[in-house]
Amino acid sequence: MLEAAGLRVGLQAEPIDLLAGRDWAACPGAGAVLSFEGTTRDGPPGERVLRLEYEAYAAMAEPVLLALATEAKARWGLERALVLHRTGAVAVGEVSVLVVVAAAHRREAYAASAWLMDRLKAEAPIWKRELTEQGAAWRANAGAPPEELG
């Protein structure tokens, strides 16, 4: 986990605690606290998802997440921003990523949270392997070709 003023990001193998993240982010200057949870979605019958497995380049992913949170905080004047991402096995229904932003007003909270999720999917060196009844496969995010980076 990395922290800076009003910022907290991290990778963790343990389940993500929504309430702890939200309580960390809430503060007297915040009129809006927005919590995004990405959860493991099940597939249709015949493609039932057994679990996801996340692999991360931790030494790079945490600094990348901190840089994104820092930029979001500056750009939208956030009070707080928190980004937590799971590693390892994540069961269906469990949360793989939590983004909590606290801002004076709601429009900044929505814009910052959506931007953080877009950039996380495009920039954070994290990979996902999906285990279904059909077998296992690495799943890439749409719209995030590695060519866009660098």
């Binding site: 380049y57 790079m60 999720m117 495009a122 060196p125 994290i126 995030a144 070709p145 590695p146």
Partner: protein, 81 residues
């Protein structure tokens, strides 16, 4: 580890192909990160992927010249979130 080597990190499908998560690789004279990738995963060979490049934990262009001691990572299509 040779005096002119870099550490290369493999992730996801690249890690599975290599059967290793990292390796020490000796540079062949002045070598860019793109050239190193083409050497380790020849274009057209099974499993050659479009990748991004990182050196010392930051994204870089394919033209970035490597120096001894760099930590190089090939970044296959991302799946976070």
């Amino acid at each position: 580890m040779s005096e002119n080597s870099v550490t290369v990190m493999f992730f996801a499908m690249l890690r599975e192909q290599r059967g290793a998560s990292e390796a020490q690789v000796t540079l062949e004279g002045p070598e860019t990160v793109g050239a190193l990738y083409a050497r380790l995963f020849p274009p057209g060979a099974a499993g050659a992927l479009p990748v991004a490049f990182a050196v010392n934990h930051a994204y870089v262009e394919a033209e970035r010249l490597l120096v001894a001691g760099d930590e190089v990572a090939f970044i296959p299509p991302l799946g976070g979130g």
